[in-house]
Symmetry: C2
Subunit: 347 residues, 2 copies
Amino acid sequence: MQFDNNEHPHRRYNPLIGEWILVSPHRAKRPWQGQKESANNEERPHYDPTCYLCAGNLRSDGTRNDDYKDVFVFDNDFPSLLKDDVVAPENTSPLFQLKPERGINRVICFSPRHDLTLPEMEVGDIKKVVDVWKAQYIDLGSNDFINHVQIFENKGAVMGCSNPHPHGQIWSQSSLPTNVEKTQANLKKYYEANGRSLLADYLAEELERKERIVLENEHFVVLVPFWAVWPFETLIISKRHFGNLTQMTEEESLAFADAIRRLTIKYDNLFETSFPYSSGIHQSPTDGEDHPEWHMHMHFYPPLLRSASVKKFMVGYELMAEAQRDISPEKSAAMLRELSETHYKHR
Amino acid sequence: MQFDNNEHPHRRYNPLIGEWILVSPHRAKRPWQGQKESANNEERPHYDPTCYLCAGNLRSDGTRNDDYKDVFVFDNDFPSLLKDDVVAPENTSPLFQLKPERGINRVICFSPRHDLTLPEMEVGDIKKVVDVWKAQYIDLGSNDFINHVQIFENKGAVMGCSNPHPHGQIWSQSSLPTNVEKTQANLKKYYEANGRSLLADYLAEELERKERIVLENEHFVVLVPFWAVWPFETLIISKRHFGNLTQMTEEESLAFADAIRRLTIKYDNLFETSFPYSSGIHQSPTDGEDHPEWHMHMHFYPPLLRSASVKKFMVGYELMAEAQRDISPEKSAAMLRELSETHYKHR
Ligand SMILES: O=P(O)(O)O[C@H]1O[C@H](CO)[C@@H](O)[C@H](O)[C@H]1O
Ligand SMILES: O=P(O)(O)O[C@H]1O[C@H](CO)[C@@H](O)[C@H](O)[C@H]1O
């Protein structure tokens, strides 16, 4: 039998983290009798007096939010990391390794409008978010004990988001987190062997093959990576090779905002719902070293599989053995590519 | 400041997969306003005429289940892997690596009783499940093209389980899946350096320290691993060093069933609910090689954090950066240790 992407089970290699995943394209046909998520299509007011992220409101620790007009950043009231410099305990065994970790966590409100999300914001307003990400990367990274800045967003209750007010988070810390360390090691190995960015080479080939491209503007490409795990996972890659947010020109920042906006509109249009996802930016660490191997990119990991209420469960096999997907990345890319770039609410 | 396990953010190293995780013990105090799961405490009948796993019933593909009396195994009607030998496509680039994968997927019903789950079954009946796991490992592994047999269970709708009838799955395949390969590499490195099993050495030290032990019988120990990610994650380790199910004596098989039963009863008692989890056995591959480095163990990854309805979300930071937990493994172990071994429904 000759191999067919959309028929035959196969494994694909993710060169960013150096791991294989399982693709079972034929399995999309199986009926679903399991758990359904409640679709999130509630209408929200512009301002909610009980929301702890709305402008001017009180937070649980008694602080009052600024009367902000666009983007607003504050230190997380329940941070996972603390600034304290704690004395490391003695390590007695290689099987019991532990070390204290320092960091700073922040929350970033994307807009004072309680009822919006990124796909419903103007590109100029998303650009303001990009500019604040840039400023935060500089500000947090300027601390001696901060070597990595993780910018991310959890959107939707199914992704553990506890407040629908449009916001993201920034967790910055001393160590390079596991997945970033793996990515860096692979980018570096490739850069040292070839003298070029892994993602630049990858992008060039994707632009020729075309089958996984979702959308494109002058400075960025959005595609479903060849090794995508989540059903509608995407990757935003800059056309120019640079390592982090601070190296973007004004024009590139606007193009980045445009790519985010157009992608998230397509996402919302896919199942005509406020599409949940976790997204995050991978970029060079703030450790003061030169990192020519880094090529900034942004991941989107959305959980939905078949509809607004049926998600992909990453459970038994996936947790014990390896990541697994039920639809080919090529099929997902084609579906996203064909979707309108006008938000379904405004049609 | 002196370091305190239950107060200070820190990272721990998982020597089985060679990766660090983040522990934020102080964060358990944060209030939860996000998504709640519906607790699964419905009463079920002994037999459900609409259940496709009950004895004698028709499945969706028209096959009729045996009129089974204890354990029943059949080929999955919607397998993620197929037996077909497909011709591999040509690999044109190191950034686009893909290879066809062969395998066999099976479903294993633990009991004809639709209303039971492992913690409500007699130890002798769980032993029958263990014996079938053993027989399946042999049967599937005897195929030339099967080099790994992954036995697992998804329990509860929140873990993607679509039928409450007590059952698990077996996905067997040609390649060593990513997580198993990592584990094998680490077990091997340790074995070659020390001439002893990593898990035997680890277990010896845990039995001395005692703080993470949940329960114990003559042949098995259940503990919350030092590097646990899920709030109430546990690991069942055999006291004797052996590589797979077929190497267990009859007495050890019964002790394994006893450990599973007592652990899952404690789990149900924790929040007085049918406790969801994904579990799976890691053991030596069926590749015909000698694997003295392997030490069979069983993982339990339960999602619940604070109650029957509040789970831990592995989302933005966890997906982009690294696994993160909000309660110390020592605290979780103490909670599980203190729970009764009589099921709450029978008190
Ligand atoms: O095979 P099932 O039980 O229908 O499916 C469940 O377990 C599989 C293996 O972990 C997962 O791939 C699916 O996402 C999950 O819903
Ligand atoms: O900080 P939040 O939004 O309350 O929490 C959410 O995001 C965090 C970072 O991904 C996760 O650790 C939590 O499990 C999730 O509920």
